[in-house]
Every structure is written in structure tokens, then in C-alpha cells.
């Protein structure tokens, strides 16, 4: 237990800030990101599988991405239109432009949420965290070519989702991104 606590503290000091940034990007809310980060570490400290985790960094990042998209999905179920009044994340624009931009970002995040989990993780690492294919491949134990292919298929899928219409965002993961 001491060992686990030490590992968690070390992880927090090393990866806490990047994880919080990732959660903020995926939720567009600092307060929600804060809640989710706490939830993430509580789950980790209570996890019975903790000692079996091989790559803690990758595991935590994946868990953070899943938590953020689960949160998005729960939010989508409760949308009544009033969330449009929330403060946009961007700045130095007119209120209308900010609102439009925030809606665009929400739309694309919801679309990413529908992509299946492995492709979603690669896509988030590549396009939201701006990591190179080589780094992604190293962290996930894949080849750069595989990472690129996953990203490409995820992008195509997201284009289809966004292109069809917004009412198609049902909250289910699509199955046709990765075989």
C-alpha cells in the first residue's frame, strides 16, 4: 500500500499537469477537469489491478480519456439547450464568435467520443496532444504505421459523423474504425 501511494504521488508530480491539461481540453471546463482528475486518482488508488499495471503512464492517460468522454456522454444526455450559456474556452473574440467556436469544439469532441477506444486514444494523442506518430507508437506498443492508419481511419469516421448531421450523435461508439 505504501508502495502504491508512493507510485501515485510520483505519477501525480510527473504527469499531473499534462493529465489535467488533457482533461481540460477534452471537457472544455477547468472545474470538471479538476473533479475528473481527483476521481481518476481515487479509482487508481482503490484499483485491485493496480499492481498488475505494466505501463502506468499509458494506463492513466487511457483512463483519463475514457473518463472525459464518459463525462461528455453523460452531459449529452442531459442537454436542454441552456448549456449554450456557458463561458467559452477561447478568448479575444466577440461573444457570438466564442459561442460558435465552443459549439464547434463540442461537436468535434462528441464525434471523437463515438470513435472506438483504441482509435480514439491514438487520435487524441496525435491531434489534441500533438504527439508524433513515433512517440504514440512507442507509448502504445504499436508501429508508427499502425498508429497512422488508426488515426487516418478515425479521421475519416469523424468526417462522416460530422458530415451526416448532428442528430446522428447517439453516444454509441462506432465499430467500423478499427477492425
Amino acid at each position: 500500500m505504501e508502495d502504491r501511494h508512493g507510485k501515485l504521488v510520483e505519477l501525480l508530480e510527473k504527469s499531473g499537469a499534462p493529465l489535467y491539461t488533457l482533461l481540460t481540453r477534452l471537457t472544455l471546463h477547468e472545474d470538471v477537469a479538476e473533479e475528473l482528475m481527483q476521481e481518476l486518482f481515487i479509482k487508481l488508488s482503490n484499483s485491485s489491478q493496480f499492481d498488475k499495471i505494466q505501463n502506468l503512464g499509458a494506463y492513466v492517460r487511457r483512463a483519463a480519456i475514457n473518463l472525459a468522454f464518459d463525462w461528455r456522454r453523460s452531459q449529452k444526455r442531459n442537454v436542454l439547450g441552456l448549456d449554450r450559456l456557458n463561458e467559452p474556452a477561447s478568448n479575444e473574440k466577440s461573444p457570438l464568435a466564442k459561442l460558435v467556436q465552443k459549439e464547434e469544439l463540442k461537436e468535434i469532441l462528441n464525434a471523437i467520443g463515438q470513435v472506438n477506444k483504441p482509435a480514439r486514444e491514438v487520435f487524441v494523442m496525435r491531434y489534441i496532444q500533438q504527439e508524433s506518430y513515433d512517440d504514440i507508437a512507442k507509448q502504445l506498443g504499436k508501429t508508427p504505421h499502425q498508429a497512422r492508419a488508426l488515426c487516418s481511419r478515425a479521421m475519416n469516421n469523424i468526417r462522416n459523423i460530422l458530415g451526416s448531421n448532428n442528430s446522428g450523435l447517439s453516444g454509441k461508439e462506432t465499430d467500423n474504425v478499427e477492425d
Binding site: 501525480l12 481540453r25 477561447s90 489534441i128 460530422l162
Partner: protein, 201 residues
């Protein structure tokens, strides 16, 4: 199926990648997690206790404690009786303090774990209330607007009726004046022809 432009998607993704939390928010989040982890560390863990109990040194220590306890009990039994009231009071205070502390820790932990859920529930409730309020306000506003419109229509109708009555009265007066003028002209013509006849004679 139509497809959205990939450049547009990349533009949005670029914007997302530029979203950065403030350093204060990051520090706050880190501190919060740090505090949570520290709080957990102080919590008693059954597994840890079981592991400790399995060690041989623990067994020896337990035997020693047992011996000391027996010795103490024999000593106490042979000595005059203790002040039970004071002992009870001290025990009660100690138990209460530790119970409160434990409850407090459990509440904090449970609250921290369920905070997101609670917040979501609260948001949903607020949204539902706001929507209901908006619907009620809209309905009340519609009723009020209809009432105002009916009042306005009545006022316009009244004003138009009054105008019509005034126009009718004016027309009647014109008609009366015209009739009087005609009679006057006829009388004038008669007088003129009479005067002309007198002059010719």
C-alpha cells in the same frame, strides 16, 4: 453521405490542442489530488493489517502483549478496584473522538468519489428547474400579451365608433345648413323678382 472538409476538422483540432488551463487551476487540481492521496494514506487498510499479522515477529509481539496483559490483569485483580466511572468517561470520550474522526474521513472520501456525480445531478436539476421556469414565464407572458391586445382592440373599436358618431353628426349638420341655404336662396330669388316687377311698373 456528405463529408465535412478535413481542413475544418484539423482547424478545430488545432484550436483544441491550444486550450490550456491556467497555472492556478493546475496547481489547485494537483493540490486537491495530493490532499486526497494523503487522506487515503491515513486510512486504516484491512489488507495491510492482515499482512502485518502474518509476520512471525508480530506473533511474538502478540504473545508478549498477552503475557503483559495477563500480568497486568493479575496485578489489577490483586490491587484495590479501579475508579470505573472515570474509566468509563475517559473511554467514552476517546471512542467518541475516534468515531467522529473516522466518520469525517469516510464522508470526505465518499464525497470526493461522488463529487462529479453529485455535480452532474445538481446541474440536471438546475436545468430542469430553469426550463420549467422558462415555460411558465413564457405561458404567463403570452396570456398577458393576449390580454393587452384585447384591451388595445377594444380601445381602438371605441375610438372608431366615437369618430363615426362625430362624422355622422357633422354630415347631418352640413345637410341641415344646405337645406337652410337653399330656402334662403329661393326666398332671395322671389324677393328679387318681386322688386324687379315693381320697378318696371
Amino acid at each position: 453521405m456528405s463529408k465535412i472538409d478535413e481542413n475544418q476538422i484539423r482547424r478545430r483540432l488545432k484550436l483544441l490542442s491550444q486550450v490550456e488551463p491556467t497555472s492556478e487551476a493546475t496547481d489547485r487540481a494537483m493540490e486537491r489530488v495530493r490532499n486526497t492521496l494523503t487522506g487515503k494514506e491515513n486510512r486504516p487498510e484491512g489488507k495491510k493489517v492482515r499482512t502485518v499479522l502474518k509476520r512471525p515477529i508480530t506473533k511474538l509481539a502478540a504473545a508478549a502483549v498477552l503475557m503483559i496483559g495477563l500480568g497486568y490483569a493479575v496485578g489489577r485483580l490483586s490491587a484495590p478496584g479501579p475508579d470505573m466511572e472515570q474509566l468509563n468517561s475517559a473511554l467514552e470520550t476517546s471512542l467518541r473522538a475516534s468515531l467522529i474522526e473516522e466518520m469525517d474521513r469516510r464522508w470526505k472520501s465518499a464525497f470526493a468519489a461522488n463529487c462529479v456525480q453529485l455535480k452532474d445531478d445538481l446541474q440536471q436539476q438546475v436545468r430542469r428547474d430553469l426550463t420549467e421556469f422558462a415555460v411558465q414565464t413564457l405561458a404567463a407572458s403570452n396570456t398577458r400579451t393576449e390580454q393587452r391586445l384585447i384591451q388595445l382592440i377594444n380601445l381602438i373599436e371605441t375610438a372608431r365608433a366615437r369618430d363615426r358618431r362625430q362624422i355622422a353628426a357633422a354630415l347631418e349638420k352640413i345637410e341641415f345648413d344646405k337645406s337652410r341655404l337653399g330656402k334662403g336662396l329661393v326666398a332671395l330669388a322671389a324677393q328679387t323678382s318681386k322688386l324687379r316687377g315693381t320697378k318696371q311698373d
